[in-house]
Subunit: 527 residues, 2 copies
């Protein structure tokens, strides 16, 4: 019996180093995909989230001597990282600017560090960071590695030069072990789908094969950037409440509730306090453990608070979705909807759904699903995503006159300050009922729109066919008119003319017109 | 344009607090399931992994006043946690005894802390830990909470009393917000499946409804406990190599390679060093960055090392699987196989597959799949698990004469020092090709065994039918014998007797016996 257990603590860097699979770094192919993804998402967060039209360039170079080594370089024109934060932002796991209530692509404070960490354990070269903030007089360059045991940055080199062109942005260059052959299709698809939801971005991608993919900006309009927000009482827990109380400058419970939360305000705070028998003048910092517990429960259960706001969120917008789908997929029909905000655990969330049909889209056996969360394309684990469930199980496509194989693509975008991802690899979204329902409503909306389009198209085609049929009769009608004109030199009224003409035509086409009893029938059926 | 980003660092406790969903604590129902699971798995790791026959009791009590509050108590007779480690082991995220190369149920150093953390943010009561190590003169009791911002334990109370009965083990009691109505089915299934793979354990489970489930030990034999092992060169990376070199007491590369790795030894180390032109006498601590990189690559690519050992692993064993399946599912047929070890990224892994058929098993449309990893039942995310792929896609059950609905259950157990889980919630295993193949081979093996059983069963049934048919002839044969005996008073040999008898019988049953030319035919076809 062995009972001597060795206890020890590991740093977050060591935790994710040991469990890199769960952050999406399972093997060289997947790691190459994930690395491009994390760096591109940081680049976009540094640009469009701050009102800057993104200029992103991505390049992947294969090392001529060590063919398993790839150097990834991602450059943006974003806000840059302040000089003093560069080492931690790239060399300390769980250090980030994204630990606030704001819609961002990044969430975990892991992405870039995981890329650097993976490069470090597979190739061993330091990462190179070049950055300048807006109006910075200098451009800084760092070479950084991560001390995994201690979870802290190792700065191997730091230099700077004058910023003569007033450039701002960030360039990250990392060497990792990769497998382009296996990653190629996913990486190309990732960049393409990113371009679909950021039609306002210029994206240039140079592959290790020397291929250059250019996604040119097709619109200059940026969606309004996301903004930070206060917590909503329905999203609170005991720990969060304690943290808020320890930081607040308010002196009374009434002030605390009306100022530190969204959806509350003075009137609702008073009503809440009265209903639950709290003391409005109590200093929140003196509340007992029992009071706090009672307060959390009451905050969660009081249903008169205003809904969480959503004006701090940054959906893509139905116009940009339509532009994105049109410019990349080149379909014959496109539609999109931005749904009203919903609430999930005190966080607001917005679902957007787009549809594209026909044109250059290849017919497929199941709808091509383009999934996005906070403007990030999700490519792996499709079958375990809530959107896949909606599209493949909940919707009866026959009802919308879609018979597979059909040339159809569905885009689903979920944005919010909290996304119920199934893992830190950010690949699929959990089956939260309210979200599933919302996506389903969205898909039904655009599917109805497609159904109407298809019906109208069919009607137009039928009308055209009928018109062509009628046109064939023109010579006959013309000759009939001639006969009629000859036999009736004097003026007649319209009804007489019509019925005379009809008799003449009918005599001539007895068989094909036997079901028509008046010329009005034909006219109406063509409309 | 807002460019003032707020950078900050968060502790691992805060990270998992913010992202509790990814550790399996997504909502009160799921959290109740996950809490039971984490505590039971710790209890088992503290017993069977150390050669102790487990005595586990689990109880869940609903608070009579606050119906959303559940108190979970799990008690084991394991090795206990040493007094000085209790606070960190239960109050510091990423502090664990499981950060070694050994097959354990726990892997991440997260489980119990996540339960306590979730209880703390939903109910706010401290967790209560009672523990005594083997031969401890005292039993200690702690009340602990977690300082989430700092990731450190807060000890609210510590006491002890004399250990008069020489008890050893651990009792953990935590109050969390739960939802028994929604969690019930999964929790019951979890405990039942745990009992299937630990037929050597006594498990008593009292539910909030007062129901008591008892799983009585059916065998006294424990599988050999897992043991710690050294790293294999194929599982190494640059970072691990540096850490090993900084800790080694060896002075030369030759000693380092032959002593610190498994699968190497002196002869192979020499051959490896010669082939790759290293200096056998170089002090590993003086190797340059380039040397280290070259060494890692060479270690990974050298294919003459012995395979990773597997004698440190602790599979369940085919006998115990059969006993477990029989005692819980009560089938008419059961079989199991423990496959040979395979290697995944330098870690050995063993796959075991069991099958149960008929008896008390209900017919189902798809095989009932019982998934286990390092003896943990996996219940969620079945469809994204590699074993599900094998059972539902790779295997054509018709080939094994199984037509659904059929009363069939398949058990798949994967054990190893590293399990390629898809997330820290430990719910599904990734589709690693070598593992998929191994599971498929295992399922095919037991499916063949079932096919043989079913064929044999059918044959026996047919034989029985034939025997019954023959028995029907007995009166006829008897009367024929009488006729024969009367006409032949003198002795005859056997052949003569048989052919005479045969003629007599054949004359009487001309039609039904027309294909039989000798009595031997009938005898043989019945065997």
């Amino acid at each position: 019996m062995s009972t001597a257990e060795k206890f020890r603590s590991i740093s977050p860097a060591e935790f994710f180093y040991r469990n890199k699979e769960i952050a999406g770094f399972a093997n060289p192919a997947r790691a190459l995909y994930q690395s491009v993804r994390e760096l591109v998402e940081n680049a976009l967060d540094a640009t469009d989230s701050h009102g800057i039209l993104p200029e992103i360039s991505i390049s992947i170079d294969r090392d001529p001597n060590k063919t398993y080594v790839y150097r990834i370089t991602v450059k943006d024109n974003g806000i840059g990282v302040p000089e003093n934060y560069v080492p931690d932002a790239f060399g300390r796991v769980l250090f980030s600017s994204k630990y606030v209530l704001r819609q961002t692509r990044g969430l975990f404070g892991l992405g870039a560090k995981m890329v650097i960490l993976y490069g470090q354990i597979t190739v061993g070269e330091p990462a190179e960071i070049v950055s300048a903030t807006i109006n910075s007089k200098k451009i800084y360059k760092y070479k950084i590695m991560i001390d995994i045991k201690e979870n802290k940055p190792i700065v191997l080199e730091k230099s700077w030069w004058p910023n003569k062109t007033s450039w701002h942005g960030t360039i990250v260059k990392v060497a990792i072990e990769g497998d382009w052959g296996k990653a190629r299709q996913k990486v190309l698809e990732y960049v393409k789908r990113t371009a679909i939801v950021t039609p306002y971005a210029n994206i240039v991608f140079r592959t290790p094969d020397g291929e250059i993919k250019i996604y040119q900006r097709v619109v200059d309009k940026l969606p309004p950037p996301p903004r930070e927000t206060k917590p909503h009482p329905h999203g609170i827990d005991l720990e969060m409440l304690k943290a808020m109380i320890s930081e607040t400058k308010t002196q009374t419970l009434l002030d605390f509730l009306s100022e530190e939360f969204q959806g509350v305000g003075r009137v609702l705070a008073e009503r809440f306090i009265t209903k639950n028998n709290f003391d409005p003048n109590a200093n929140p910092k003196t509340l007992s453990k029992d009071d706090l517990e009672k307060l959390v429960r009451a905050l969660k259960e009081f249903n008169e608070f205003r809904k969480p706001r959503s004006d701090h969120l940054s959906p893509i917008g139905s116009d940009l979705i339509k532009i994105g789908l049109s410019s990349i997929l080149k379909p014959e029909f496109v539609d999109a909807i931005t749904r009203k905000p919903i609430v999930y655990e005190g966080h607001s969330m917005i679902v957007e759904v787009g549809i594209a049909y026909g044109g250059a889209i290849e017919p497929v056996e199941e709808p091509l699903l383009l999934r996005f969360a906070n403007k990030i394309p999700l490519l792996y684990d499709e079958k375990s995503d809530v959107a896949w469930k909606v599209v493949s199980e909940n919707i009866d496509w026959g009802y919308y006159d879609i018979v597979f194989p059909a040339p159809i693509a569905i885009l689903v975008h979920v944005c919010g300050t909290k996304i119920p991802y199934k893992g830190v690899g950010k690949e699929s979204i959990a089956e939260v009922p309210i979200l599933e329902n919302e996506i389903e409503e969205g898909v039904r909306h655009v599917a109805r729109s497609l159904k109407l389009y298809l019906a109208r198209k069919q009607k137009e085609e039928e009308a055209a066919r009928k018109a062509i049929t009628l046109i064939k009769y023109i010579p006959e009608i013309a000759s009939a008119l001639v006969v009629f004109a000859k036999s009736n030199p004097e003026p007649v009224n319209v009804e007489t003319l019509e019925s005379k003409l009809f008799e003449l035509v009918k005599n001539r086409f007895r068989d094909s017109l036997k079901n028509i009893s008046s010329p009005r029938d034909v006219v109406l059926s063509v409309e």
